[in-house]
C-alpha cells in the first residue's frame, strides 16, 4: 500500500512536491503540542496567553528566519547568540556614554552588521568552513562583550524604550507582529524571487552554481552580514524587554535557534527547506516551553526535551528527504 503510494508519487512530481515535505512534520508536531498543552492547563485555549508566551522568543525567531536562508545555502552561523549579547552590550555602553538613543541604536545595528561581515569574509575569502569559523567567533564575540561590560548590567534607559513586549495592537504584542511580518516578507523573497531560488541552487551544488554564473561568494557574504544585522536588531529588542544589557544574555540561544530551523524541516546539508516550516517550528518551541513551564518542569530538564526534539527533527527530515528523492 505504502509502496504503491510512493510509486504513484514518483510518477506525479507535482503532487509529490506538495505532499512529501518535512514541514508537515512540524505542523503535526504543532497540533500535538497544542492539544497536549490544553490537556495540561486551560490557559492554553487562550490566544492572548500564547501570544504573551511568544514575546520572549521573538528575538530568536527573527534570527531563525535568517538562519534558514543561511542553512539552505549550505552554510551555518553559530555566532548568532553571541552577536545578540555583543550588540546589546555595545548599545548599553553607547547609551550610557550619553550619545543619545537613536545614535546608540544605530551603533548597535552597525556593530552587528560588521560582526556578520567579518564572518562572511572569512568564510568566503579564506574558505574556512562556517561551522568551525562561527564556533570561533561565538567565543570571540562573547569574549568582547564580557570585556566591555564585565559583570555589570547596563541599564538606565528611558521608560518609553523599556518593555516593548508590553505594547500591543489588539491582543497581539508588537514583537509578535514584527516577527510575523518579517517571516512573510522573507518567505515571499525566498519562494518567489530569483535570489531565493539561487539560494537553493547554491546549497544543492555550489560548484554547478558557480559554473552557472551565480555569484556564490557574494550572496553568502550578504547572508552572513544580514545575519549580523538581524542579531543587532534582536540585541536592541532584548535590551528593551529586559531593561538591561549583560554579556551573558542569550547564552546557549544558538541551540534553540538551530532547533527552530531544523524542526521546520530545513535540511542541514543545504538546498532544501522554507520559511513556513521555521515559522511553525517557532510556535512549537513557544508552546512547548510554555507547556513545560505550566507543568512545572525545571529549566534543566526542558533542555533535555528540546535536545531530544532536535535529534528527532533531524532524523525525520533526513528520512523524508531520502524517501522523496533517490
Amino acid at each position: 500500500m505504502l509502496k504503491r503510494f510512493s510509486i504513484y508519487l514518483s510518477e506525479n512530481p507535482t503532487l509529490r512536491y506538495w505532499i512529501v515535505r518535512p514541514e508537515w512534520v512540524a505542523v503535526i508536531l504543532l497540533i500535538i503540542s497544542v492539544i497536549s498543552s490544553i490537556q495540561l492547563s486551560p490557559f492554553f485555549a487562550d490566544l492572548a496567553f500564547i501570544m504573551d508566551s511568544a514575546t520572549p522568543y521573538v528575538e530568536y525567531g527573527l534570527i531563525a528566519i535568517i538562519l534558514t536562508l543561511i542553512i539552505i545555502s549550505g552554510e551555518i552561523d553559530l555566532s548568532i547568540a553571541s552577536m545578540i549579547a555583543l550588540t546589546a552590550v555595545i548599545f548599553g555602553t553607547a547609551y550610557n556614554a550619553g550619545i543619545g538613543m537613536p545614535l546608540s541604536i544605530l551603533i548597535a545595528l552597525l556593530s552587528g552588521t560588521l560582526c556578520g561581515l567579518f564572518n562572511g569574509i572569512l568564510v568566503t575569502q579564506l574558505r574556512i568552513p562556517s561551522i568551525i569559523l562561527t564556533i570561533g567567533t561565538l567565543t570571540l564575540y562573547r569574549g568582547i562583550a564580557q570585556s566591555l561590560a564585565s559583570d555589570f548590567s547596563l541599564g538606565g534607559y528611558p521608560s518609553w524604550f523599556i518593555g516593548i513586549d508590553y505594547r500591543y495592537v489588539g491582543i497581539v504584542p508588537i514583537p509578535v507582529i514584527i516577527f510575523t511580518v518579517f517571516a512573510i516578507v522573507v518567505g515571499f523573497f525566498l519562494s518567489s524571487t530569483i535570489y531565493g531560488k539561487q539560494l537553493y541552487l547554491i546549497g544543492t551544488n555550489p560548484q554547478t552554481a558557480k559554473y552557472s554564473g551565480i555569484k556564490v561568494d557574494r550572496i553568502k557574504l550578504l547572508l552572513f552580514t544580514l545575519s549580523g544585522l538581524v542579531c543587532g536588531i534582536a540585541g536592541v529588542l532584548t535590551t528593551s524587554r529586559l531593561a538591561v544589557a549583560r554579556f551573558n544574555m542569550a547564552t546557549g540561544a544558538e541551540l534553540e535557534i538551530v532547533l527552530m530551523v531544523m524542526l521546520g524541516g530545513t535540511y542541514i546539508f543545504g538546498g532544501r527547506g522554507n520559511i513556513f516550516g521555521t515559522f511553525v517550528a517557532f510556535w512549537i518551541v513557544v508552546i512547548l516551553r510554555a507547556g513545560l513551564n505550566v507543568a512545572r518542569i525545571k529549566i534543566e530538564s526542558q533542555l533535555t526535551i528540546l535536545g531530544a526534539m532536535l535529534i528527532i527533527a533531524i532524523i525525520l527530515t533526513n528520512y523524508i528527504y531520502s524517501k522523496s528523492q533517490k
Binding site: 541552487l201 552557472s212 528523492q325
Partner: protein
C-alpha cells in the same frame, strides 16, 4: 608463467567494459599495456590487483587458479599495484609507509621499530635508494614517494608489480632513475606490468606490449616485432565511420570572434595560442590530463591564468568569474556532469533556467513561473528530452537526457562561444547522434564552438580544425582534410 588470465570479462550495470582477456606475464619480464582512454587496461589491472572482481574468467598465479577478491588478497598472492599518484601517508616515516599494513609486533603488539627500520634500509639499499627510513614522507619528491611505494611492494615479497602510468608525474631525469630500478627488479625475476602512453618509453623498457581497444585485448607482440605506427593502428582500429564535416557560410569570412594568445598557467598548460571563427567547430584532441579542460576553464573564468591574453571580438578581455564570461556570451558544458553540470535533487525546469536569471524574472527579481515552464517546454520538445514533467528532478533522468538539459540551459543564454567538454561521455548511441546534429546546427547558426573530446571519431566527424594537445602544450593544429586518427594520435603521444 608468473601470471595468466583466461577469458577475463567485466560488466558494470549491464555495460560490458572488458571481454575475453587472455593475457600472460613471465617472470623477469616487463610487459607494457597500451590503449586509448577507456580501452579497458585500467579495468584489467584493477581486476588483477583486487579492486574489482571479474564477472567471468580465471586468474592463474604460478599456475595456481586464484580468486582475487580484494586488494589484501592480491597482496597476499604477491600482486602489488603502484599508483600513478603515490598513495602515501605523508605524516608518517618512510619505514612506516614501507611496512604499512604488515608491521609485525612483539608479544604485546608493540612495534619492533629497530627491525622495521633496518629492514627498510635493506630494501632501499637493494634498489639503490639513499633515503633515511626514519624521515617523514612529507617533503619527498613524487619520484621518491613512488620508489618507496615500490619498496613497500618488495617488503611484501611481491612477485608481480603493476605500474599504472608511473612516469607521467616524473621528470625525464627521474624516469631514467625509475627505469634503472625497474631493470634491477627485472633481473631479479620480478614480473612487471607497465602502463604508459609514451611509446618511446615503452620501447625503452619493455619486452612485450599488449594493446587494448574498446574492452578487447587486440594483440600481444614482442616489442621488437612491431613499429610505433602499427601500435597506434592497433589502438584505434580500422572501423572508422567517415562522416562529412558540414561547411557553413561563416567559415568563409576571416574575422575571428575569439583569439587566444600565449595563454599559460603554471603546471597546467603553457603557450596556448589559437583563433576561433564564428560558426567554426574547433576540436581539442589529446589524452586525459593534456590540459584541455584547464584551458577551457581559464577562458571561461572558472580558473585563473598566469600569462597571455584573450581577445574577444577584437578586444582584450579577462573573465574573472563564470558570471562575467556568461554576460559576454560564453557558455561551458563541463566534463564532470554530476559535480559541475547539474543540480541533482532539483527540478528539470530550475536546472534549465539556472544560468539565465534575467530571462525568467522582472526588474524586482520576481520569478515569472509561466516563462520558466514555457522556456523549459520549448527545449524539451526541441531536443526530445524524455521525462514526465518539467517538475521532475533532473537526477532521475538518464545521462543522455541530463546532458540535453544542460545543453538547453546554455542555449537559453544565447552563447556566442560555446565550450563543450566531453559532451557525449556516458551518453548512449542514439542521443549521441542527436547531440551531433545539435552541434552542427548551432555552428550553422553562427555559434563558435570549442569541442573537447577524447573520442577521435567524434572530433573527426564534427571539427573544422583540430588542435592536438600533449602535456599542456599544443603540438599540432590540423585541418579536417588532413586529419586522421593516426595523425592525431601521433601528436597526442610521443
Amino acid at each position: 608463467m608468473q601470471l595468466k588470465t583466461n577469458n577475463i570479462g567485466k560488466t558494470f550495470s549491464g555495460v560490458n567494459v572488458l571481454r575475453n582477456v587472455d593475457f600472460d606475464l613471465k617472470p623477469g619480464e616487463v610487459h607494457a599495456l597500451v590503449g586509448e582512454n577507456g580501452a579497458g587496461k585500467s579495468t584489467f589491472v584493477k581486476i588483477l590487483s583486487g579492486v574489482y572482481t571479474p564477472t567471468e574468467g580465471n586468474i592463474f598465479l604460478d599456475e595456481k587458479n586464484v580468486e582475487i577478491t580484494s586488494p589484501i588478497v592480491a597482496q597476499k598472492n604477491g600482486v602489488a599495484l603502484i599508483h600513478q599518484e603515490p598513495q602515501s601517508f605523508s605524516h608518517l616515516s618512510v619505514a612506516e609507509n614501507i611496512f604499512m599494513g604488515h608491521m609485525d609486533g612483539n608479544n604485546f603488539s608493540r612495534v619492533k621499530w629497530q627491525d622495521i627500520n633496518s629492514k627498510s634500509n635493506e630494501i632501499l639499499n637493494s634498489i639503490g635508494l639513499k633515503i633515511d627510513p626514519k624521515i617523514i614522507m612529507e617533503g619527498l619528491s613524487i619520484a621518491d614517494q613512488q620508489m618507496i611505494e615500490i619498496a613497500g611492494a618488495l617488503s611484501k615479497n611481491s612477485k608481480v608489480l603493476i605500474m599504472d602510468e608511473p612516469t607521467s608525474p616524473l621528470t625525464p631525469n627521474e624516469v631514467g632513475k625509475l627505469f634503472e630500478i625497474v631493470n634491477k627488479l627485472k633481473s631479479n625475476g620480478m614480473a612487471i606490468i607497465f602502463i604508459s602512453h609514451r611509446l618511446e618509453e615503452i620501447r625503452q623498457i619493455s619486452d612485450r606490449v599488449t594493446i587494448f581497444r574498446d574492452g578487447d585485448l587486440i594483440t600481444t607482440k614482442n616489442i621488437n616485432d612491431v613499429s610505433n605506427e602499427e601500435i597506434i593502428n592497433f589502438m584505434i582500429g580500422r572501423n572508422i565511420e567517415e562522416t562529412e564535416v558540414k561547411e557553413n557560410v561563416f567559415l568563409k569570412k576571416d574575422d575571428y570572434i575569439l583569439s587566444v594568445k600565449n595563454l599559460s598557467l603554471s603546471k597546467k598548460f603553457s603557450d596556448i595560442s589559437f583563433n576561433l571563427k564564428k560558426g567554426e567547430i574547433l576540436g581539442f584532441a589529446g589524452l586525459v590530463g593534456a590540459g584541455r579542460t584547464e584551458v577551457a576553464k581559464s577562458i571561461f573564468g572558472a580558473e585563473k591564468f598566469d600569462n597571455g591574453e584573450i581577445f574577444y571580438n577584437g578586444k582584450s578581455i579577462i573573465n574573472n568569474s563564470p558570471n562575467e564570461a556568461i554576460d559576454k556570451g560564453f557558455a561551458y558544458v563541463p566534463e564532470d556532469r554530476k559535480q559541475m553540470g547539474i543540480f541533482g535533487p532539483v527540478a528539470v525546469e530550475d536546472n534549465i533556467t539556472s544560468a539565465v536569471p534575467k530571462e525568467i524574472s522582472n526588474n524586482f527579481g520576481l520569478i515569472n513561473s509561466k516563462s520558466v515552464t514555457s522556456k523549459t517546454n520549448e527545449y524539451i520538445k526541441k531536443f526530445n528530452i524524455i521525462l514526465t514533467s518539467g517538475r521532475q528532478l533532473i537526477e532521475e533522468l538518464s545521462g543522455g537526457n541530463q546532458q540535453k538539459c544542460i545543453i538547453s540551459k546554455w542555449l537559453l543564454s544565447k552563447p556566442k562561444v560555446l565550450i563543450l567538454d566531453e559532451p557525449t561521455r556516458g551518453v548512449d548511441v542514439g542521443v549521441k547522434s542527436e547531440m551531433y546534429e545539435i552541434i552542427n546546427q548551432l555552428a550553422e547558426e553562427g555559434t563558435a564552438i570549442i569541442l573537447i573530446s577524447s573520442e577521435l571519431p567524434e572530433i573527426l566527424s564534427l571539427s573544422h580544425r583540430i588542435i592536438v594537445m600533449r602535456e599542456g602544450k599544443i603540438t599540432k593544429i590540423l585541418n579536417n582534410k588532413e586529419a586522421t586518427q593516426e595523425k592525431i594520435m601521433s601528436f597526442a603521444i610521443n
